[in-house]
Symmetry: C2
Subunit: 334 residues, 2 copies
DNA sequence: ATGAAAGCGCTAACAA
DNA sequence: TTGTTAGCGCTTTCAT
C-alpha cells in the first residue's frame, strides 16, 4: 500500500496525493476530499523512510541521559517526551552513563539516525563548566544538529542551554542557615558537574559574604547511595557540623538516617536540605525540605526552543535560567 | 558524502561499497581494505533513511511505557535500553499514560515509524487479564511487528509475554503473615492491571487455604501517593487490620507513615510489605520489606527474545515467568 | 569478484 | 489546480 495505489484508487496523480497528505493548499476541496476518503478507507500511512529520504528528517529528536533510572532524569524525560509528542515528534532515548567515551559513542549513534535535534539531560554533559575542551564533543555534535542542554551551560554555535539558578538557591539557603546561627554547614555532593559546581559556588559565596571560612573538610563528595552516606557520616567522627546541604534528595535521606541513628533532633540540632524535591523527600521521616529546580519548566522551555529552532525561528534564547525554590518541610525551620 | 563519493574515491562501484559496508563475503580482501580505508578517511556513514527504505528497517524498537517518571518503569527502561544498545538497536520511547485511547494512539505513532519490535512495559497493557477484548489493540499491533510484554500476559500470534510470579509471591507472604498470627491483612493496590489481579489472587488463595474469610473491606484501591494513602488510613477508623500488603513501595511508605502517626510499633503491632524493592523501600524508617520482581531478569530475558525473533529464530518462548523474592527488612519479622 | 541498473516510496521542481 | 519526472542514497538481482 503506497502512494501509487492511493493515486490510482483516487484517480489522481501521486503528486496530488502527496499534496493532500502534506496539507498543501494547492488542491481543490473536491479532490482533497476524494483523496482523503480513499486514504481513510485504505488505511494508508506514508512510508516514513521514504519521507525521511526525501526530506532528510523523520521528526525524531534524540534524548541522551546518563541514567534513566535516576528519579530526576526520568521525570525530565517524562516532560520532554510529553511536549515533543504534542508537536508530533518522537524521541529516541539513549542512556550513556557518565563516562565521556560512552557519551560520545551514544551521541554518534544518535546522530547517525539523523535526529532533528539532540537534547542532553543533566549537567553531567556540561562538564565541570571550567574545562572548555571537555565539552568539545558537544560542539562537534552541534555541527550536525541543534543541541539543547537541560540544566547545563555550554557555549557554542547551534547550542542552546538552560539552567536552574542553583547557585542562587544554595546561596540563599546557606545564608538562611547562617542567619539562624549555624556555623558548620556540611555540603554533600555526588558529582563534579556544572550544576554541582554552581551549587558549591553558591555555598562558598554565602560563607564568604557572611565572613565565615570555607572549610575544606565540610565539602565532601559522596556516592549517590542512601546507606553509603549514612555510614560515611557515622564513621566520620572527626568532622563536626550542625547542618547539611545535599545536591540531591537521596543523599539527604542518608543524612536523615545518620541523624536519627545519632539521636539528633531535626531540625533543632541539625538542619537538612535536599535537592530536586523528588518523592524521596517525602518518603522519609521527618520529611525533607528540598530545593525544587522546576524541571517541568526547564523542559517545557527547552521544547519550545527546539520547535522554534526546527521551524527556523531566529528569535530563540541561547540560554535561559529558571529560578529554584526551597520547598519547606520538616528538616528546616526557617 | 554518499555511497557514490566513496565508490569514486575507492575506484569501485557502489555495489562493492555496499557489500563492504554490509560485510558481504563476496569481496576480495584487497578491495575490502581499499574501500574500508576510504570510508574511514572520509568518515562516511550510510544514510539510515535510504537503508531503511531498501531494507524496511532502521534497527529501532519501540518502547511504550505508561509513565517513565515512575521509579519501577524507568528502571525497566534502563535495562531494556542497555541491552538493546548492545545489539545495535536504538529505542524510540513513548509515554502513553493509562488510558486505552492514548495507548492506541501512541502505538500507532510507533508503528508508523516502522519499528522492528514493540515492547510494552508494565502490566497495564495486559488489561485485567480477564477481558479478552480489552487487549485486542495489542493483537492488532502484533499483525505488524512482534510485540513483547514486560510483566503481563496476553495471548496471541506474534505476542511474547513475561511475568513475574506475583501470585505466588503474595501467596507465600500472606501465608507467612497468617502463620505468624495475623488475621486481618489489608491489601492495598493502585491498579486493576493483570499484575495487580495476580497479586490479589495470591492473597485470596492464601486466605482460603488457611480457612480464613476474604473480607471485602480489606481489599482497597488507592492512589499511588504516599500522603493520600496515609490520610485515607487515618480516616478509616472503621476497618481494623494488623498487617498490610501493598502492590508498590510508594503505598507501603504511606502505610508506614500511617502506622507511625498512630504510634503503632512496626512490625510488632503491624507488618508491612512493599513491592518492587525500589529505593523508596530503604528511604523510610523502618526500612520496608519489599517483594522484588527481578526487573532486570525480565528485561534481559525479553531482549534475548526480541533479538531471537528478529533474527528469525523459531525457538522462542512465547511466555516466561520469573520468580519474585521477598527482600526482608524491618517492617516484617518472619 | 565486480559492475550496471532497477527499484524502495516519497517530495518537489517544472510543465501544462 | 493537476500531472510528469527527476532525484533522495541505498540494496540487490542479474550480467559479466
Amino acid at each position: 500500500m503506497n502512494i501509487y495505489d492511493i493515486a490510482e484508487m483516487a484517480g489522481v496523480s501521486i503528486a496530488t496525493v502527496s499534496r493532500v497528505v502534506n496539507g498543501s493548499d494547492k488542491v481543490s476541496e473536491t479532490t482533497r476530499q476524494k483523496v482523503l476518503n480513499v486514504i481513510d478507507k485504505a488505511g494508508y500511512t506514508p512510508n516514513v523512510f521514504a519521507q525521511g529520504l526525501g526530506l532528510n528528517t523523520m521528526h525524531t529528536v534524540g534524548i541522551l541521559v546518563p541514567d534513566i533510572s535516576d528519579i530526576y532524569m526520568s521525570s525530565a524525560v517524562f516532560y520532554l517526551e510529553g511536549c515533543l509528542h504534542k508537536y508530533g515528534y518522537d524521541c529516541i532515548l539513549s542512556c550513556s552513563g557518565f563516562e565521556t567515551k560512552q557519551k560520545e559513542q551514544h551521541i554518534h549513534m544518535l546522530l547517525d539516525k539523523h535526529i532533528d535535534a539532540l537534547i542532553l539531560v543533566g549537567s553531567t554533559y556540561a562538564g565541570s563548566g571550567r574545562d572548555h575542551a571537555k565539552t568539545d564533543y558537544i560542539r562537534d555534535a552541534a555541527e550536525k544538529v541543534p543541541v539543547f542542554i537541560i540544566n547545563g551551560a555550554v557555549e557554542g554555535k547551534n547550542i542552546y542551554s538552560s539552567v536552574c539558578d542553583d547557585r542562587r538557591a544554595v546561596y540563599v539557603v546557606t545564608r538562611k542557615l547562617i542567619g539562624k546561627g549555624r556555623r558548620h554547614i556540611l555540603f554533600l555532593t555526588d558529582s563534579h558537574s556544572y550544576s554541582s559546581n554552581e551549587k558549591m559556588a553558591g555555598y562558598e559565596k554565602a560563607l564568604n559574604d557572611e565572613g565565615l571560612p570555607v572549610e575544606g573538610n565540610l565539602k565532601i563528595h559522596v556516592k549517590n547511595d542512601i546507606h553509603y552516606v549514612r555510614d560515611l557520616l557515622l564513621k566520620s567522627e572527626a568532622i563536626c557540623f550542625d547542618s547539611v546541604i545535599c545536591t540531591n534528595d537521596s543523599i539527604a535521606v542518608g543524612v536523615v538516617k545518620f541523624a536519627k541513628e545519632r539521636g539528633l533532633s531535626i531540625p533543632r540540632e541539625m538542619d537538612i536540605v535536599g535537592y530536586n524535591n523528588s518523592v524521596l523527600a517525602v518518603s522519609c521521616e521527618p520529611e525533607i525540605s528540598s530545593i525544587d529546580n522546576h524541571t517541568s519548566e526547564i523542559c517545557d522551555g527547552t521544547i519550545e526552543n527546539v520547535i522554534s529552532v526546527l521551524q527556523g525561528d531566529s528569535n530563540v534564547r541561547k540560554h535561559f535560567t529558571v529560578p529554584c525554590t526551597l520547598v519547606k518541610r520538616s528538616t528546616t525551620d526557617f
